[in-house]
Symmetry: C2
Subunit: 515 residues, 2 copies
């Protein structure tokens, strides 16, 4: 058993089941080991950004660590933007990077030599280059533990090629999964309860586990008693919503809308999140979005048990045993004659989407417009580009589909964001993943046109920097070239029909919605 | 005049003429400034890896700094792998990254916040976040100076959004371009001359400027007198070759072949390069490729004037006034009936390629096989993926075409490497660049199949990790979907005809050579 075998067996023993990979020569012994076992599914990606985006989507839906296998510093570098998204999403991801053999690493001028740890650090909570075949299995177990440290982290382990090919010790035992701590602010529940009792103009801002069914139910109970609003961040990792669930309201994207949305708040309770700030700073607006004078209290930090804290709070305020109101199913087919636009697309998706679908949203300006449309659809999970780095959706959809092959994945992407991760379509075809991609094809980085006007720079943003219409990307041809069946919709009726057909059929599909 | 205007005018005054961009909201004032002037050509890219690869190709051919405009940390992160290649190529590249406004930057949890400088450092010789609108123009001039420090460097300047939108001082004056130093080893010429006189079993290993016409001519003179061989690195940034030029020989890719190739050397003279090492370390071979006992002497470091040093050396050894032999034109059309393979493709390219073409090679296993075919073609420049990070060629070809619109660019890419940078095709179409792309479509990361066998891992490498045939990428469809006219060749005759037609026609073309 060489180091690679021992590392891979350790990862298997630690519960790793998926490896999103674009390996090279320095990972070849790890590939050989992966190829010998059947537990970890190898998913080849044409670009490392697809591998890391898929790992993020997988981590969010599987709630267990995804593994990536990337080639030296440049391979890791290609995956960093989606690791930034994974970091913001608190996804458990273990990057395994093959390093040069120790005796080769001393040649700084070797073409592929680079500061791998330097690349890794800005996105990784835990980074290590293992010393040898003897330390590699134990360090692999530590990497998995680090990735599972609440609420979930990116861990990067560099395995030098000689640590992989040298005779090794037995696989390491898995380390216990670090538990989610109770809220460290021991009197937080009492303080929050008192504040909520004093003011009905309050909000509960939820993120992480608290945005899943159980946390939302507790929040609904609190709301029923205190009148608190239930809110979530503009950019969030994952939430459960739709019929039968307690409804939460999203903080709007643009800062003035967000400030108006929260203008009435006297108390804002944070559960697994931070004080809301705008995505960008503006010359004339504060970054903090809560009104001046609003008291912001933390019920649970992101690494603490937000669901437990909410349930404790519900008891403390004397909430009823069940939430006052849950979402009722409300979907309707859009009129076939309606102009095809973000809103009608959202309506059609909501109408046709099956129960327990997973929506993966990287669709920028259009997505914000159609997000509301699915709020009262059948119960589903919704993943959003948590780090704001576009070029994530197509990849994350692939990962979510690997994590949950029993559920339909609906990927919403802009043409700008989709183009950044177009290679993911190939992986969707190769693995026959059950994904439907909707491309909001507006032939522009449309959000920048809006920001241009907002910045007072004039009416017509420069197409030379923001336009995607010269040439327009032919998404049907692009998808077909990578093995994904695709169609184009230019009317609401056509979109509705194509989406309904895609839902009925298993396997990857893409619809270019020309808006 | 705001900070953005002043920065952009400074860049114009410093001689910047091309900006490879994928901007976002934090760069919007820089875009507004760029949009107001006519000197710097804005080239929009669908992925930041395309922008940085294009900047590398541009820098190598223009020999002046390329500018990139990238969005915050994640945008820079997406461009890092090709910046690694640019660093290894010593390309002059100035990255301008829009940062968050200073008052926003303090919120570590803002979704798009990240350690931008941390991302930049592994690839940048110079990294700075400018303080304000007052410092920004001067720092922009310093960034250009840093990029031009011999032999060429990557410089990264972060411009916070408020430094861009705030009223600023006048543009900064350009700093003098740092001169190439003479060799610091004052007696290097004499020492090398003495060594060459003592042993005819010697080699001159050239890189950088020394691999262009003038340096090669000096090396040819030295060779005529001393019998020294003229060599170049396996992975090199740029060379001039073909008819009328002194021929150099490339160190083979695989270490045992490289060692055999150099086995006779008693003296190896380095000109602008380092002692040759293999790309990867192996269990049973040294990384250093020169034979034991071979005396390695440095004539000029990479930041020193290698051409001047070679000319001094030619005088010191009493070389004749002109090189003994230069390459004679030798091209021949391959037989239409020959099996389509890397060798026949190389032969057809050499036959049809016009004078002063620029070959951009990111084609892995196939490229090594066809490189020799063009050695006796009409005079041309040859760029290679200097950092070994694939996913560079299609982007670098775009940049080279922007730098030299008067010359035909021939891009050689594998399907694996091409797939990593497929978005570059869109930029080639958008800018109507005069590029012909040849995809060696072998439906595999074929180099890894070879490495698999070499590592003793068996005969059949695992298609699940190395195979690109499930599904095969339809390159004709892919290129067409992004606006590039394309065709497929499955025979030598078809390839020859399609390549000849592409050479005759201006504008981007792609040929999928199924091998």
């Amino acid at each position: 058993m060489n180091g690679a075998d021992s590392v891979v067996q350790t990862l298997v023993d630690c519960g790793v089941e998926a490896c999103f990979a674009n390996p090279g020569t320095s990972e070849i012994h790890l590939v050989a080991s992966l190829n010998k076992q059947k537990t970890i599914r190898g998913v080849l990606c044409l670009h490392e950004g697809v591998a890391t985006g898929a790992a993020d989507g997988y981590g969010r839906m599987a709630e267990k660590p995804a593994m990536t296998l990337l080639h030296l510093g440049p391979g890791l570098a290609n995956g960093l933007a989606n690791l930034h998204n994974a970091r913001r999403a608190a996804s458990p991801v273990v990057n395994i990077i093959g390093g040069h053999a120790s005796h080769h690493n001393r040649y700084a001028h070797a073409a592929l030599n680079s500061d791998i740890e330097g690349f890794a650090r800005p996105v990784s909570a835990w980074t290590l280059s293992t010393a040898s075949a003897l330390t590699a299995p134990g360090d692999a177990a530590r990497a998995v533990e680090a990735a599972q440290r609440p609420p979930g982290q990116v861990a990067t382990l560099i395995v030098p090629a000689d640590a992989a090919w040298t005779e090794a010790v037995r696989p390491a035992k898995p380390l216990p999964r670090p538990p989610m701590a109770s809220s460290t602010a021991v009197d937080a529940v009492d303080a929050v309860a008192a504040a909520l009792r004093r003011s009905p103009r309050s909000g509960l801002l939820l993120r992480g586990q608290a945005l899943q069914e159980q946390g939302l139910a507790a929040a609904g109970r609190i709301a029923a008693k205190t009148g608190a609003r239930i809110l979530y961040d503009t950019l969030f990792p994952r939430m459960q919503r739709g019929a039968g669930r307690v409804r939460a309201d999203r903080i709007p994207y643009f800062p003035e809308a967000a400030m108006e949305f929260m203008a009435d708040l006297e108390v804002l309770v944070l559960v697994g999140t931070n004080p809301p700030v705008s995505l960008f700073g503006s010359p004339d607006k504060p970054s903090l979005l809560a009104p001046e004078g609003c008291r912001i209290i933390c019920l649970a930090r992101e690494y603490e048990d937000g669901v437990g804290a909410l349930e404790g709070l519900a008891e403390a305020v004397g909430a009823p045993a069940s939430p006052g109101a849950v979402t009722e199913l409300a979907v309707s087919a859009p009129s076939d004659d309606a102009t095809l636009a973000a809103a009608t697309i959202g309506q059609a998706i909501a109408y046709h989407m099956p129960e327990q679908a997973i929506i993966v949203d990287d669709s920028g300006s259009s997505g914000f417009a159609s997000h509301g449309g699915t709020a009262t659809a059948r119960p589903h999970d919704y993943l959003f580009v948590a780090g704001g780095s576009i070029g994530w959706g197509l990849a994350a959809a692939a990962g979510a589909a690997v994590a949950r092959p029993d559920r339909k994945v609906v990927c919403l992407t802009g043409d700008g964001s989709g183009a950044m991760a177009m290679q993911a379509l190939w992986t969707q075809a190769r693995e026959r993943l059950d994904t439907v991609t909707v491309v909001y094809s507006n032939r522009a980085y449309a959000i920048l046109d809006v920001e241009w006007a907002r910045a007072g720079l004039g009416n017509s943003a420069p197409a030379s920097y923001f336009g995607l219409d010269g040439p327009a990307i032919d998404w049907v041809g692009l998808a077909g070239a990578m093995g994904v069946e695709a169609s184009r919709a230019e009317s609401t009726g056509a979109f509705s029909d194509q989406f309904a057909a895609a839902i009925r059929t298993r396997g990857p599909r893409l619809i270019e919605a020309v808006i």
